[in-house]
């Protein structure tokens, strides 16, 4: 009896930490996948799995900051495609150096973020509508500009290539530069949110914007800065992806906006603002990526793949929400 009580108290203590829920889900699902298909935990599969993490992961980090401030951005997938497309179109057709073209790409992305931020704060339209519209605008612009054709991204400056998509091989595990960027950004944003003045303002903006303004915080400026930063991250992730794949496609990143929101929310960030956890998002990114990987490994029918991914994400979200409610009471 007392033993059970103690055990229960330990479980309660663990579940009270937001990030523990996705972590438990990650361990449980990994174990399940491993039992069905031992290849799941093979070094080769792990390194393949992590190779694709930076693309979505870097965007998910930015999305976490936005969600914490009570807004979100549906235009990230379009910016993810547009910025590298613009960069490499300039390189390939105008012939200016990649370094300079990258700056143009980043600047264009940040301008998109600025417009998003201004429309949300100054015109007062919900971020859902603003960024839905911006998604169509940017996606359409990319397709129009490129007439639907991808741009080659190979043969660029070798230093930039290495910085974006270089690899380090340790034994059987290959680590990609993108993964290091993701880890670096995650560490920085974690501390920014938890330990910096700006992080406190982000939390307050999303938690109770009225109170934050009453305390003299310029919540509009906080929101605008986050939108600009989000677009920058999306363009950076897009550049890494396009360089890795070898072409900048105008249709790249389709659906990334919802997938990254799912990653943040599964990790414990609130859809309604005021609560955000970078550690949770990192776990959420790995969780959803491993679900996609594991589903294929255990061999579900090819065309039913998305169905299974959807079911598992729903289950993960439900467990998260139920435990959340249990903790609150």
């Amino acid at each position: 009896m007392t033993c059970l009580e103690t055990l229960r108290r330990i479980v309660d203590r663990v579940l009270a930490v937001r990030e523990s829920i996705p972590l438990v889900l990650l361990i449980a699902s990994s174990l399940g996948f491993y039992l069905v298909s031992p290849a799941f935990l093979s070094p080769m599969n792990l390194s393949n799995m992590f190779a694709f993490i930076p693309e979505l992961g870097i965007i998910a980090l930015g999305m976490t900051m936005l969600l914490t401030a009570g807004v979100f951005d549906l235009s990230v997938g379009a910016v993810f495609a547009f910025a590298p497309l613009l960069t490499y179109t300039i390189v390939n057709q105008v012939g200016i150096p990649l370094e300079l073209a990258m700056l143009v790409g980043f600047a264009a992305a940040m301008l998109i973020g600025l417009i998003n931020g201004l429309l949300v704060t100054k015109v007062g339209i919900s971020s859902f509508l603003v960024t839905l519209g911006m998604m169509l605008v940017v996606r359409g612009l990319g397709l129009y500009m490129s007439a639907g054709y991808p741009q080659k991204t190979l043969g660029g400056d070798p230093i930039i290539q290495t910085l974006l998509v270089g690899t380090v091989t340790i034994g059987p595990v290959t680590i990609y530069a993108g993964l290091l960027w993701f880890i670096g950004l995650a560490v920085f944003l974690h501390f920014l949110l938890r330990r910096a003045r700006f992080g406190n303002w982000v939390l307050a903006t999303g938690g109770n914007g009225k109170s934050a303004r009453a305390r003299g915080i310029n919540t509009d400026a906080v929101t605008i800065r986050l939108f600009v930063f989000m677009s920058f991250l999306a363009s950076f992730a897009g550049l890494i992806s396009a360089t890795r794949v070898g072409s900048a496609y105008p249709i790249a990143g389709d659906g990334y906006e919802l997938e990254t929101i799912a990653m943040a929310v599964v990790g414990g960030t609130s859809l309604f603002g005021g609560r955000g956890t970078i550690i949770g998002t990192v776990i959420g990114v790995i969780l959803i990526r491993s679900i996609r990987n594991g589903i294929i490994l255990i061999g579900v029918p090819g065309l039913a793949y998305n169905m299974f991914v959807g079911i598992i994400i729903l289950v993960a979200m439900s467990v998260q929400a139920l435990l959340e409610r249990r903790n609150a009471s």
Partner: protein, 339 residues
């Protein structure tokens, strides 16, 4: 435009879908004419046509863009036809703008064209224009992307179902697969016409032989498709006896996937679309056994020949299939085109 398969090197399937240029070909244009007319025989006919058509003006309209390598090659083919036949060919690109293409078509009718060659920017998009041209006695040939329901006189381009038959037959004829084997069919956009038609062709060969196959949703996202295919092969490299890439992007991913999973070139036979440089290089390196090329220059040249025949009074109720498999033995010729 065959939903984007039609590109040399750089065009992905789903781009075109996203651009809203999806063509749902009601039925594949040339299912009733499986034997492709060879370029040589058509060219021979061209010489005879020359006298009757000299000085006439033909219009050649593409939904594509003049900056794309595929269309650069195609338009050069149309120019060659103009020179060879001694006719005038007016070319225009709509850059994906359906309205612009319709306008160009109508101007061609108004200008009293001797014949109009066009791509289909979408199912039914040119129905009225084709009817108007026929009313004015102008023959119409579709190329690159078909729309048989429009009532066009003929089609020049790849035949999707035929491509499926060709791939499956290649694997069977070369004894690369046998009854009970499993063939993996990755695709960018499952459910799209090109996947359905190609799978239909594959089924017509594999089903009677008891060869199993499965379509796999690799997704149209470039990074995502690479990762999904890698995941799949990690788990199933022993199960998969052959791979047919139903689109250009998935076929061009094969080499990277094999390298990541540790499959040696040739260990698992691969066939599929080969309009990209990456795929042609994979053929040269032995990762892909054979790939399908769809002759962009002929898609420029042949429609003009057919139209010239028609305007000279011949009947042209047949389609020309511009596709063939290439392999390691002749890949150099294709690589040279993909510079």
């Amino acid at each position: 435009m065959n939903l984007g398969i039609a590109s040399v090197g750089r065009r992905s399937l789903t781009l075109a879908l996203a651009a809203g240029l999806t063509i749902s070909v009601a039925a594949c244009g040339s299912t009733s004419s499986p034997a492709p007319t060879t370029a040589a025989s058509a060219a021979a006919g061209a010489a005879a046509t020359q006298a009757a058509t000299a000085g006439k003006t033909f219009y050649w309209l593409s939904h594509g863009s003049a900056s794309d390598q595929f269309w650069v090659t195609a338009v050069a083919g149309a120019d060659a036809a103009s020179k060879d036949l001694g006719v005038s060919v007016k070319e225009s690109f709509a850059n994906g703008d359906v309205a612009a293409q319709k306008e160009a078509f109508n101007s061609a009718i108004a200008a009293g064209a001797a014949g109009i060659a066009t791509t289909s920017p979408g199912a039914g998009a040119l129905n009225d224009e084709v009817a108007a041209a026929h009313k004015a006695g102008i023959p119409v040939v579709f190329f690159n992307s078909d729309d048989p329901a429009s009532g066009r006189d003929a089609y020049v381009g790849a035949n999707l179902q035929g491509a499926g038959v060709q791939w499956a037959q290649y694997l069977v004829d070369n004894k690369l697969v046998k009854a009970g084997d499993f063939v993996w069919l990755p695709v960018e956009a499952p459910g799209e016409t090109y996947q359905v038609d190609e799978t239909k062709g594959i089924a017509s060969v594999f089903d009677p032989l008891g060869i199993k196959y499965e379509v796999f949703n690799a997704s149209g996202d470039p990074a995502g498709s690479l990762s999904n295919m890698t995941d799949y092969m990690t788990a199933n490299k022993d199960k998969v006896k052959a791979i047919i890439g139903l689109g250009d992007m998935v076929t061009s991913n094969v080499q990277q996937v094999f390298d990541k999973v540790g499959i040696k070139p040739g260990q698992i036979p691969v066939v599929g679309w080969g309009n990209t440089k990456a795929t042609a290089q994979s053929v040269a390196a032995g990762y892909v056994n054979a790939a399908t090329w769809q002759y962009p220059d002929s898609q420029g040249y042949m429609p003009i020949v057919l139209l010239a025949r028609a305007s000279a009074g011949s009947l042209i109720g047949y389609d020309i299939s511009t596709m063939a498999l290439y392999d390691k033995s002749n890949v150099d010729k294709y690589l040279a085109l993909l510079k």
